[in-house]
Symmetry: C2
Subunit: 139 residues, 2 copies
DNA sequence: TCTTGACTTGGAGTGTACTCCAAGTTGTAT
DNA sequence: ATACAACTTGGAGTACACTCCAAGTCAAGA
């Protein structure tokens, strides 16, 4: 059994792949969210495919509202090994629930916007309505 | 025709009703997102039911990702009157689309989390799998 | 009247997450 | 050999959205 050599990326390629900026990747490493990256002899960072996938996973968590601190905690658990699996699962389930609540709120706001758009359109077609119906916009 | 007298609220009641803090309401007024509030003789702010509804609308836009600057722009249009109705409608439609994209991203992340939870559970039941399958978490 | 709590202002301070910079080193193409 | 781009570091600066504070005024009950 031989290890399949993984293609190795520069920080620039990592940034392209993940959508993070190079500065952000270095920043994440600095605050301990990403582990100290492997280096070439020159000191330049290198990333494996596996690491890039991990970063993308991070971006998904972040984009869905997880804070950097929570992600750091999750990573700490990951480093503790198998014993932390149950807690990691419960964190993910909890996060999934938060996402669901967020989706519900978004859907509700969409309905509210639709209602408002309808009102606007009515008011546009028949300006008289505008006098009776005052749009609530904090005034 | 007589005006139905609207019940008038203090800033404290406004904060309770909207979920914003009193400081935040004053801050929104300071930056021009809310108009200069009506005052009692004492100088204390008062809010009508209509104004409270407007504030709740604001909180919905904010909670779905609209920035304070965008909301200020929307309010400016509102103050310009009927002529701005088409632009206001298009802003709302645009925002609705942004919300839809956000929902899509959230759903996708939920699926990703489900996949990961399954993997974790497998690894927990059968620790051998954990050796073959490395969780990508940026390491 | 006295006290207690609510409200006022302008401005300073905070938390999160970057983002940029200077000064120096390394890698690559000509 | 000489550019020139890519990379390195520590630390400073920025953007957004609040959040808190001091010092003072106002309102309502005992």
């Amino acid at each position: 059994m031989i290890d399949i050599p993984e293609t190795v990326s520069t920080i620039k390629q990592a940034a392209e792949f993940t959508g993070l900026s190079e500065d952000t990747i270095r920043y994440y490493e600095k605050i301990g969210l990403l582990p100290y990256a492997d280096r070439k002899a020159s000191g330049h960072r290198t990333y494996s495919k596996h690491q890039l996938e991990g970063m993308v996973f991070l971006t998904r968590l972040k984009a869905t509202g997880m804070t950097l601190e929570e992600m750091k905690h999750f990573r700490k658990l990951y480093e503790m090994g198998e014993a932390s699996l149950p807690e990691r699962v419960s964190i993910l389930i909890e996060h999934k629930n938060r996402i669901q609540n967020e989706i519900d709120r978004l859907l509700e706001t969409q309905r509210m916007i639709d209602f408002k758009i309808d009102k606007f359109k009515e008011a546009f077609v028949n300006p008289d309505l505008n006098k009776k119906w005052k749009s609530p916009f904090a005034d």
